[in-house]
């Protein structure tokens, strides 16, 4: 089974520039999450989608971050303009929604996109 795909793996930009990250979740997973992980910290939830609707975006800095999940499949996270403190790994995860055989609520993460803002 293919895992969560993310691109690009690495991105270096100057502050005030823009950047976009792409995520393709596991097939059939209705719920998609974007997390931000700053070096030395645990992942922090930015936004959660169920199909193409937003479930929780309370921690998304909406003045500079935006995310969409058109057609309820893949998703894009954009930062514009970027700040130095946005340097982090952006992790995408997906999970089943509703009853599943394991019913553990397990999240499946991609390898992440590492952003460096200079």
């Amino acid at each position: 089974e293919a895992g969560v795909a993310q691109s690009p793996r690495y991105k270096i930009i100057e502050k005030r520039q823009s950047v976009a990250f792409w995520c393709n979740p596991i097939s059939g997973h209705a719920t998609l999450y974007w997390y931000q992980q700053i070096l030395g910290q645990g992942p922090k939830l930015l936004i959660q989608f169920q199909n193409n609707g937003v479930v929780d975006d309370s921690q998304l800095p909406k003045d500079r971050f935006s995310a969409e999940r058109l057609k309820g499949v893949d998703s894009t996270l954009k930062i514009q303009p970027a700040k130095l403190e946005d340097s982090a790994v952006y992790l995408c995860a997906s999970s089943l929604t509703g009853w599943s055989e394991r019913h553990t609520g397990e999240l499946f993460f991609g390898e992440g996109s590492r952003l460096t803002v200079l």
Partner: protein, 111 residues
């Protein structure tokens, strides 16, 4: 979600058993306890989940006392490849629920 407390770091040698304890005094009746593992440059991955008593799988064991206010992840005979960050999470683990991560425990295994 219940707050968790776990050691910042632990050191071990290959072949030893490692036990990482997580404190979650405010755990709710419907909460499950889940552990994730994260290697450098990778996303976290699920290790084990439990509600009470003991759970064992091919990777680890999870011990949960009767009061459920703490839990212990046990890794038998660790190897260098077990060097990673381990996160303890507590919450309602229904499909489609977001996870809230703490800082985790960095386990370093030496030869």
């Amino acid at each position: 979600l219940a707050k968790t407390t776990q050691p910042i770091s632990m050191d071990s040698y290959e072949g030893q058993e490692v036990n990482i304890t997580c404190s979650h005094n405010n755990i709710a009746t419907n909460d499950y306890i889940t552990w994730y593992q994260q290697f450098p440059s990778q996303g976290p991955r699920f290790i084990i989940q439990g509600y009470k008593t003991k759970v064992t799988n091919e990777v680890a064991s999870l011990f949960i006392p009767a009061d459920r206010k703490s839990s212990t992840l046990s890794l038998p005979r660790v190897s260098l490849s077990d060097t990673a960050v381990y996160y303890c999470l507590v919450g309602v683990q229904e499909a489609g629920t977001a996870l809230i991560f703490g800082k985790g425990t960095t386990l370093s295994v030496s030869s």
